[in-house]
Symmetry: C2
């Protein structure tokens, strides 16, 4: 679908090509690609070959993305996710340097790796581990520090899914309704006769290709539609997220199987807005940022209509990402207050149907599932995770009473390339923390 | 000058024409032009005639600007002015509703007006009065509330001037040096042989026209250069602030007279960056936002190189604007700490040379002067002010121990149109506060 919009996207394709080209010839390692070492955007003015942003538009290519992920608001329009005027709820800290020495065997490897070594292996920008609500590990590198915000990419989706679950629990959104009941404009599209639940769980049958390494993929047409900067004069495609969604064509049967397609999240966020009269950003501020006493405001990327880039536009601090995960671990309770209804948390943490997930080809998540914009591992610990490309994650392990928030700028977008040195590492730390007296 | 760049700016001119056209046929009053009443950017999606932003690009026209002034970051790229992780320094409050009844006679009028009536007359979005450091009056309307940020326009310049004065006081910037000693690239331009002090005081002789109502004015070419969104393919002008500054041509003799030209501020900010290795935003965060315990982060508009729009790109909260003024009133001391050197404050508060100011035609500021990007009134109370188009102000009255911070979206850009119902009102409140037991 969307063939007629395939012209005039060359600028956007460039960075994918560059990115994959670089990846094939051994990308720079974490130290060499550190954006401070690279000197991006330093100097007054920066040197020509150190400039990131328009008009070059290759800001999403490695190694530039190691700068970009902390600076999205400096490239495009964003909306504030307000934290209100309340005081910050502090974390208690009990840092445990021994975590650096925890070892694990990466998926598919024979040699062990230390936790500490995994940080650079994963191009980690920020890593925070909470155990029983206390910070036991906190690490920043590259473009990030505690004050900074980092692109969460598809971790954003899990915030949208959580808001949707809150609204369902409170009766303001009906998961059994059809999309066209909330959004008549989507009736002619493939979304029209899908249910809210199918959209939330990405079991819709949509003709939409989300291969980030393919410059012809629909994901880049979608990105162009959502880009809030003025379109080129030759641009003929959809001009915002809502227009793009209305072009969705069907492929397969709704409800049959999980297939990861970002546009489900944008459709979900649209339904949230229509059902409640408030967009996702307002809900995020009122229902999450303010009651959790977040330390920092967040930035949400938007399109030219001010519509949030719900599938991937959130930029937040590492501590705030962890705080959100901790609230889910605590069954929605933060500082004694039920911020997220228990039913919403249980719907998320229970996971979806592994049978519908099995065919999707996620080799690093065997037996997993997807529900309400969250990934369930269905492992012994009952872990579930928010996941975004290039290594973004909020990982909740109820058994170990552990929450991990990670921001990274791995050279390759697919999490399948990052999971081998991540998921076993998380499990090893969980095992370590469980045994800890 | 800049004749060769005069093409291809039609989109930007449109809003000036609209703005002046509307102004001539009686603009909507404050209540009718309230952005919430107008319904700008409401709905999912907003109705076509309620959309502000690209591609229409008339976001700076009245009445749209009443929405825009609280939403610049939603239209273009911005950089964060960090407040750090420290706690907010609270204000004490002693609200005095009787201020609403204070009366004054507007300049050129015969009938009295109440303070309360002046708020709507001035399209006030936010008004805060501090007396002896306590909040005695706080008001929000239109697009603004206490959590919001508002475009400060040229009030930004006074922050730049204050940073420059701090650096001079500490020996990191030399006011007697020539611009070309700091920035060799500006040597061939009119700036090259001006002194830092002349740039700070805007007594440079520059061929640059800052008439906001004239679509052929250099200010709009400057604005186009600084616009961080991708340029139209047909655009041939300077692509960022630094390029624009290098085209400055001379007219008149440096040091002769004050003539208000925004590009002086950008040249000053460039010297600050070159002299210290840190841009103006970093200084603002380290020297002002963090030590003052600001309540909110601020947003700074930037160009495509990430260069701050130093002449007008700051967006901040009303309380934080007042806090900055209060620190100056207190000779640079905040919470017992000397945040701004006394010498810097005295250089600002002393004002400039009224003789050099007299010919500039500011009828509402008789006997005034301009120094270090601040306006000195040289009135009985020794008041001085930061001033931005459409009614932005930080007004410091040492005699009355009063600071006023005001944000507004007056339909006409010129402060000469707003001063008649503002400056006498400030004086009347000062008189009232002085007499108060």
């Amino acid at each position: 679908m969307f063939n007629k919009w395939r012209q005039s996207l060359c600028l956007i394709f460039v960075f994918v090509l560059l990115s994959s080209a670089v990846a094939k010839v051994e990308p720079l390692d974490a130290a060499a690609s550190d954006p401070n070492v690279m000197g991006w955007m330093q100097g007054f003015p920066p040197a020509d070959d150190r400039i990131i942003g328009y008009p070059a538009s290759d800001y999403f290519s490695f190694p530039k993305l190691r700068w970009t992920f902390c600076h999205f608001r400096e490239i495009q329009a964003t909306k504030r996710v307000g934290r209100g005027l309340g005081s910050v709820t502090p974390f208690s800290e009990a840092l445990d340097p021994a975590i650096d020495d925890v070892t694990f065997t990466p998926i598919g490897a024979t040699e062990e790796m230390t936790w500490k070594a995994s940080l650079d292996a994963n191009y980690t920008d920020g890593m925070l581990i909470l155990h029983r609500g206390e910070i036991v590990y906190e690490y920043y590198s590259g473009c990030l520090d505690r004050e900074g915000r980092h692109g969460a990419m598809s971790v954003t989706k899990s915030f949208v899914g959580t808001i949707a679950e809150i609204l369902i629990a409170e009766g303001d959104l009906d998961e059994s309704k059809l999309v066209n009941e909330y959004i008549p404009e989507l009736a002619p599209s493939a979304f029209g006769n899908a249910t809210v639940r199918q959209v939330m769980d990405m079991t819709t049958g949509l003709d939409y290709n989300e291969n980030y390494a393919d410059p012809e993929s629909d994901i880049w047409l979608y990105t162009a539609a959502g880009d809030p900067t003025p379109k080129l004069e030759s641009y003929k495609g959809p001009r915002n997220f809502y227009e793009f969604l209305q072009g969705a064509e069907q492929k397969g049967i709704h409800g049959d199987a999980f297939i990861y397609k970002s546009i489900n999240t944008d459709a979900l966020a649209w339904m949230i807005a229509r059902a409640t009269g408030k967009d996702f950003i307002e809900h995020l501020s009122e229902r999450i940022w303010k009651p959790l006493g977040m330390e920092q405001e967040a930035d949400m990327m938007i399109d030219s209509l001010g519509t949030p880039f719900s599938a991937g536009g959130l930029n937040l601090s590492l501590r705030d990402a962890a705080r959100f995960g901790q609230t889910l671990l605590q069954q929605g309770v933060w500082q004694g207050e039920q911020v997220i209804p228990t039913a919403a948390v249980q719907s998320i943490s229970g996971g979806g149907d592994p049978a519908k997930f099995a065919g999707a080809g996620y080799t690093t998540l065997p037996g997993g599932s997807y529900r309400s914009q969250w990934w369930a591992l269905h492992n012994e610990n009952g872990a579930y995770s928010a996941r975004g490309i290039h290594g973004q994650a909020i990982y909740v392990d109820p058994t170990a009473e552990m929450v991990i928030a990670r921001f990274a700028t791995f050279p390759i977008s697919f999490n399948a390339a990052i999971d081998p040195t991540s998921l076993p590492a998380y499990q090893a730390v969980a095992d370590y923390l469980i045994k800890k007296p």
